[in-house]
């Protein structure tokens, strides 16, 4: 199946058509993969049919995933700072729970401390990451459209949000592959919608949307840090499982 998530990135009909065509080509080439919802990152080794693509080692893949996460976090932090400077008055900057906007609660509990995290298994770490990533795909798209409606939104902010949302998709793909490799689990669907993500009102006023967007950016920033931390802990566990738990 084609990664439908990529359709969000097409801005014009032409790009849309192109992506559809690309997906069709992929479908035609990887028709054995259609049975299993494969992410076109990796070729299946065991079936032996499409063994020509080079596969990446698990360590390198994990490193790349971590780099993605780091980048996402850094860019999201910069975006939040930019937005804060442009649109949020000073007295309200440190308050995140204003006007009732809080970060969306997740469908699963996220560990809150190091000790708790260390008690979580690898599997759950990975799944948590995946769920986090998937929960933010849609809101980021929304954020992009919202920011476009701002009159004086700086271009750097728009570019950063766009970059973040792209990288997030890549991150999702990487995590999926990781899950498959590390956990030997089956293919997971890259979701379009994740339950628990409240649909946002797209037609709200700009004035109302400032605190909401600010909250959105802040929460995303936090979640990006979560992803990064989880992945790094996971890496430690992969290399030296014993010493990671000393603290």
């Amino acid at each position: 199946m084609v990664n439908i998530g990529q359709i969000h990135q097409t801005k014009s009909l032409k790009q849309f058509v192109y992506s559809v065509l690309q997906g069709g080509v992929w479908a035609a080439l990887l028709w054995p993969c259609l049975l299993s919802l494969g992410v076109p990152l990796e070729c299946k080794d065991e079936q032996g049919s499409i063994t020509r693509c080079a596969s990446i080692s698990q360590e390198k893949l994990l490193d790349r995933v971590i780099q993605h996460a780091e980048l996402i976090y850094r860019v999201s932090e910069e975006s939040c700072t930019l937005f804060e400077e442009m649109f949020v008055p000073i007295p309200m900057r440190s308050q995140r729970n204003q006007a009732g906007y809080t970060c969306a609660t997740k469908a699963f509990p996220i560990p809150g401390s190091k000790s708790e995290i260390q008690q979580i298994s690898d599997k759950w770490l990975l799944h948590s990451v995946l769920m986090l990533v998937q929960s933010w795909i849609e809101p980021l798209v929304y954020l992009q459209t919202t920011l476009d409606r701002y009159d004086d939104a700086p271009d750097t902010l728009l570019n950063k949000t766009k970059l973040v949302s792209e990288k997030l998709l890549s991150l999702e793909q990487g995590v999926v592959v990781l899950i498959r490799k590390m956990l030997d689990e089956g293919m997971l669907t890259t979701s379009y919608y994740e339950q628990g993500v409240a649909p946002y009102d797209m037609q709200s006023e700009v004035l109302e949307s400032v605190p909401r967007d600010y909250t959105l950016l802040s929460c995303f920033k936090k979640d990006a840090h979560k992803m990064e931390t989880f992945l790094k802990l996971l890496k430690c566990r992969q290399t030296d499982k014993y010493s990671c738990f000393l603290y």
Partner: protein
């Protein structure tokens, strides 16, 4: 009593407020949370500052509420972190969760709440300083360098990836003022290059999580760099030495070739390059010798033999008409024609021999005394060298007694016309009459004439030449003076030739004689003086039929050049020969004036007439360059 009570009341009422003010109790002022910090993202501490305490013992308590929960908790630890602090240990710390913290100040009168502060532990991480900062000096091919190494703060869990720290260090020389900062990333080692040799450096390190605050700088580490010569400096030293060697060698080479270099750079100023010109003589002041030398050498003669340079004779053909003319003129001016000057100035110097000179030489002809040409000291203006030359010439010349018929000193007399001319023609060309002024008293007395019978012939100086000859030859004294341009060959007609010529016979109609030019009349004409002594007319040849040739002086130009008129007979040409006179020039009307050159007074008085057909007899004296 009542007054006392009132007074006490009054006093108390006055005092009490004052006392009471000092002792007023108020509820505590508002406390304020100053900061919360977490060193390792696992615990954190919050500090607050108290407001006014209202002079009552005040207690502070901290309450917090976690995000998405309404449960209020109180600070678990007030003491670990010091006064006015609250320490949250690991169990109480949740990351990625907003804490809403409030401090409450309470005293007996009331309490006061601080403003709530939202805290997320992740964003308040400020680690401790890096530990074990060590600096080592290592050697490299380019020189020494510093290697700085450190460890992360003890409590930060970077190994498990819980915290990712990035480091930064700064270096400076001990005496410098500004730090040089370097970003080290996540590594624990850093190299510093390009050190000052012998300097003492200070190094400090600090760290920061990717989402927090910078730590404090670590303690300063001192390190001394050993002395060394920087590669750049040694390179410059080598280059300097090399260049100095090259300069030394170049200087030596230039010094060796000093002269040629000098010649090349400062070419010598070309001095006057005149052949035969001896600068030393000039410097010595004996210019005459110099000129003599010059004259001799540059005299474009065919033959270097001095003897040959002598003009043997000058042949003058004078027409009878002209004689008459001249006679007429002479008669007019007889009175004052006599020029009695002691000096002998040749008329126009046409005759290169000054008869005076020769006379002296020949012992007795008091030419000097008697030959005086007044205005016709034609060649007086000339340099004495000429006379000297003449003297010299005359000295070399045999006295007229010699049978050689040597003639006087005509130097550099050229005649192209002589070239290849037949004797006849040659003879004809000899017909340049030349008038020479011969003073009356030139002609010697009988006594002298005895010595020189030639003089008796009345030829005066011309007779000298004639004297030297046999009477038969006397008739033909050919003086050949050809003034031409310097490049013309000097042709001296030999006596023999002339003898032949004469043998061929001068046309008897031609009377050859000579005239004494006594003066130059006002019209700038040379006025010949008849030879009174002989009474045969000025143009009568005293010799036996032999006529000497004299050139008629046509005039004198303003360059003291006698213009000798050439008889127009044969050639029909009239060329002027410039003989140096002191008068203006006259030119024959038919003269080919175009051929006359104008020359500068300073230039030589060469005869420039290009009457090719004639053999001009000109005073070769004019040929002599005057200096």
């Amino acid at each position: 009593m009542m007054w006392r009570g009132v007074g006490v009341t009054l006093i108390l009422s006055l005092i009490l407020p004052v006392v009471a003010q000092g002792a007023r109790h108020t509820p505590p002022g508002k406390p304020k949370l100053t900061s919360c910090r977490s060193p390792e993202k696992e615990t954190f501490t919050c500090w607050w500052e108290a407001g006014s305490d209202g002079r009552l013992p005040t207690t502070y308590s901290l309450f917090y509420r976690k995000e998405n929960s309404d449960t209020v908790y109180e600070c678990p630890d007030y003491h670990t972190a010091g006064a006015n602090s609250c320490f949250f240990n690991k169990n109480d710390t949740s990351i990625w969760v907003n804490y809403s913290i409030t401090v409450v100040a309470t005293n007996a009168l009331g309490s006061n709440f601080s403003d709530p502060v939202d805290v997320d532990v992740v964003y308040i991480v400020q680690p401790h300083t890096p530990e074990n900062v060590t600096v080592v000096v290592l050697e490299d091919k380019d020189g020494p360098f510093l290697r700085v190494s450190w460890e992360p703060p003890r409590k930060a869990d970077t190994r498990s990836g819980w915290i990712t720290l990035i480091y930064e260090l700064r270096v400076k020389l001990e005496e410098a003022e500004e730090w040089e900062e370097h970003h080290a990333g996540q590594q624990n080692i850093f190299n510093i290059f390009s050190l000052h040799s012998g300097g003492v450096y200070i190094v400090q390190v600090r760290c920061k999580p990717d989402h927090g605050f910078w730590s404090e700088w670590s303690a300063a580490s001192y390190v001394k760099v050993p002395d060394y010569i920087p590669r750049e400096q040694s390179m410059w030293i080598l280059i300097a030495i090399f260049l100095s060697f090259i300069i030394l060698i170049l200087t030596w080479i230039i010094n060796m070739n000093r002269n040629s270099v000098k010649h090349c750079l400062l070419p010598p100023v070309p001095g006057p390059k005149i052949k035969g010109f001896d600068k030393q003589l000039l410097k010595n002041g004996k210019s005459e010798e110099v000129f003599n030398a010059f004259v001799i050498q540059s005299f474009p003669t065919r033959s270097t033999d001095y003897e040959d340079l002598l003009v043997e004779y000058l042949e003058v053909y004078v027409n009878e008409e002209q004689e008459l003319m001249l006679e007429g003129k002479d008669l007019q001016d007889v009175g004052c024609l006599k020029s009695k000057g002691p000096s002998d100035s040749d008329s126009g110097r046409g005759s290169c021999d000054s008869h005076s000179l020769l006379m002296e030489k020949c012992g007795g002809v008091e030419s000097k005394e008697e030959s005086s040409y007044e205005e016709t000291e034609l060649l007086q203006g000339q340099a004495g060298s000429w006379e000297r030359l003449e003297m010299g010439d005359s000295q070399e010349v045999d006295c007229p007694d010699s049978s050689d018929g040597r003639v006087k000193t005509w130097l550099s007399v050229f005649s192209s016309s002589i070239h290849g001319s037949s004797d006849n023609h040659h003879l004809g060309t000899l017909e340049v009459p030349k008038q020479r002024s011969v003073p009356d008293n030139f002609f010697p007395t009988s006594s002298s004439s005895h010595h020189h019978p030639e003089y008796r012939d009345g030829l005066g100086e011309y007779s000298e030449y004639g004297l030297s000859r046999s009477p038969s030859a006397r008739a033909h004294h050919h003086w050949e003076a050809h003034h031409l341009q310097a490049h013309r060959n000097f042709n001296i007609s030999s006596l023999e030739r002339q003898r032949d010529a004469t043998a061929l016979g001068l046309p008897p109609s031609q009377s050859m004689g000579y005239v004494q030019v006594q003066k130059v009349n006002q019209e700038n004409q040379l006025v010949p003086k008849p030879l009174s002594s002989h009474g045969q007319g000025p143009f009568q040849v005293q010799f036996s039929g032999a006529g000497e040739d004299y050139s008629k002086v046509n005039g004198v130009n303003n360059y003291n050049v006698l213009l000798l008129q050439r008889e127009m007979a044969e050639a029909g040409l009239c060329c002027d020969y410039q003989v140096k006179v002191g008068a203006s020039e006259q030119s024959c009307p038919t003269q080919q004036q175009g051929k006359m050159d104008t020359h500068t007074p300073a230039a030589t008085h060469f005869q420039e007439s290009t009457c090719l057909t004639t053999s001009g007899y000109v005073d070769t004296a004019t040929m002599m360059p005057t200096f």
